[in-house]
Subunit: 314 residues, 2 copies
């Protein structure tokens, strides 16, 4: 009996090979094993080919002027509506607050809470680009509205999203990308997104283990799955830091493994964005690559996964 | 007897009028009562007259290229020496550490600890400009070496230095200025100094009282003497925020009442500067405008005050 149970357990955990082991010992840095652009050479991209090349080399691009003023206003209105609803429901597990404060910092599962944002994530201008880069059908691994208030906005330390999605969600490969649609102006001074260009081509395995219910703390302030200062310094030394400043309605597209973070914000200017993670259908999550049970469905879509259908406009 | 004691006490506390009451009730905003530039009209400034005008209007200026490369290197070496000495003496009341960490954040009383920095504060390029703007002999109210480490640098919330020096030190009027000599590069992303242009022409009285031994906490993270979010928003709305980026060896000169602050720093790039407060000899501190005893001498020079003599070079 024990043998059978054991074999069964081994079958499950080894169904997908762990190409990117992390939180299994000391911090280390290795090369990326996966492509960045999955689209066939010589295929026609939906945006300027130089932007695709930039995405390949730097791990991110910023798309400006793809939404009309009316569209941007509609997104801002919807964000305000969701935040005021979430404030009345502070205990909701899908609404995370600022450490030590009651301001709502993140609202998840936007497709369940908002028709406007559901249409936005299906919009061809976003989903079509994701399908092109990943060369596959795509689905939403996670969606959220992020709000970093003025005066008390806390920092987010450097991290690769893929490291967490791989270890804690069981995402097999680097075949996913994020799109952040800005809803407020990003100045240099209000805690804008910072990225390390080229960092997506390396994988930093992190020290430590994954504690139980890690997501309850890590979404406020991450302490595990954090790259070492030495490896961060090495990458920044070589490639610098890019700070994204932009008007409302810009789209920051970044690879799942691009190292990013943001400083706090003591200015009166809040920051808000909608954040979608597009994953290739062929890259669906399996068993987590750690000893913890899977994270909740609103952080990692797992059951009943269907590819996004095409949509012209939200 | 009681009457005499009481009259004596009244005499002391009312020797200097409290022109800028703060921490006595609700937050409020009033006009500055003092000049910004004390130099007589039509006098010849030691720097470009347009910079003096900018100082008058904005409350700060940045002087570039006033030190040679060799001088900058000497200042950087001296900073490294002082930090390594202070690290061995963590318990020193003159060395403040980062909240929750052991990195040295501030070292005070530089004239006692360092011949190099003592000469720097007397250097005509700095002290001469202070004498011109304040139109008086000057002395050093406070001096410190600030070090904001990479990765864990914490924010400093918005404040007017004068508000603290007035309430806690008994500095009568706005006739003082600060000079910050940068020792590392200030990028937009490593928690550089932010200032609100024009804010020096208003005085924001802060809410709350002054707790006992406030400086032990306030130098790490200020919770009293903090302007209200409403008044900050109002000033920023009108006048914006200026972020100072600069090379090592730049000098940021700002009025004692200019609102300033800085965000945290998750990047690998540390920030260091030497900070001198020049006060007009005629504006010497008196009894604090609060119910607490004076702060220690290393935060506020009080006894045995002598004006700086002129010096050509450090």
């Amino acid at each position: 009996m024990n043998n059978t149970a054991s074999r069964h357990s081994i079958d499950q955990s080894h169904a997908v090979e762990d190409t990117y082991p992390s939180r299994k010992g000391l911090s280390s840095i290795t090369d990326r094993q996966d492509p960045v652009i999955y689209a066939p050479q010589n295929s026609t991209p939906p945006i300027d080919p130089s932007q695709i090349e930039q995405f390949e080399q730097q791990g991110f691009i910023v798309l400006d002027n793809i939404f009309s003023s009316a569209e941007i206003e509609a997104l801002q209105d919807e964000s305000a509506r969701l935040r005021s609803t979430a404030s009345n429901d502070e205990q909701s597990e899908k609404a995370y607050t600022e450490p030590g404060h009651h301001e709502v910092r993140s609202i998840f599962s936007l497709h369940e809470n908002s028709t406007v944002f559901k249409k936005l994530m299906m919009d061809e201008r976003l989903a079509g680009l994701a399908r092109y880069i990943l060369n596959d059908q795509v689905y939403i691994h996670q969606s959220r509205l992020n709000y970093k208030p003025g005066f008390i906005g806390k920092e987010f330390f450097w991290h690769s999203d893929f490291e967490t999605w791989h270890v804690e969600d069981g995402m097999p490969n680097m075949r996913a990308l994020s799109m952040s649609v800005t809803l407020t102006e990003n100045h240099t001074h209000n805690g804008p997104l910072m990225l390390i260009p080229g960092s997506h081509k390396k994988f930093i395995a992190c020290e430590g283990k994954t504690p139980r219910q890690h997501h309850l703390a890590s979404l406020k302030k991450q302490e595990y799955g954090v790259p070492s200062n030495e490896h961060l310094s090495m990458l920044v030394e070589k490639q610098g830091i890019t700070t994204v400043t932009s008007k409302p309605g810009s789209v920051i597209v970044f690879d799942c493994n691009t190292l990013h973070g943001s400083n706090g914000n003591i200015t009166p200017h809040p920051r808000a964005n909608v954040f979608f993670v597009y994953n290739a259908l062929s890259n669906k999550v399996a068993k987590p690559f750690c000893e913890q049970p899977p994270r909740p469905e609103y952080l990692c879509a797992r059951s009943n996964i269907k590819p996004l259908t095409s949509s012209r406009s939200f």
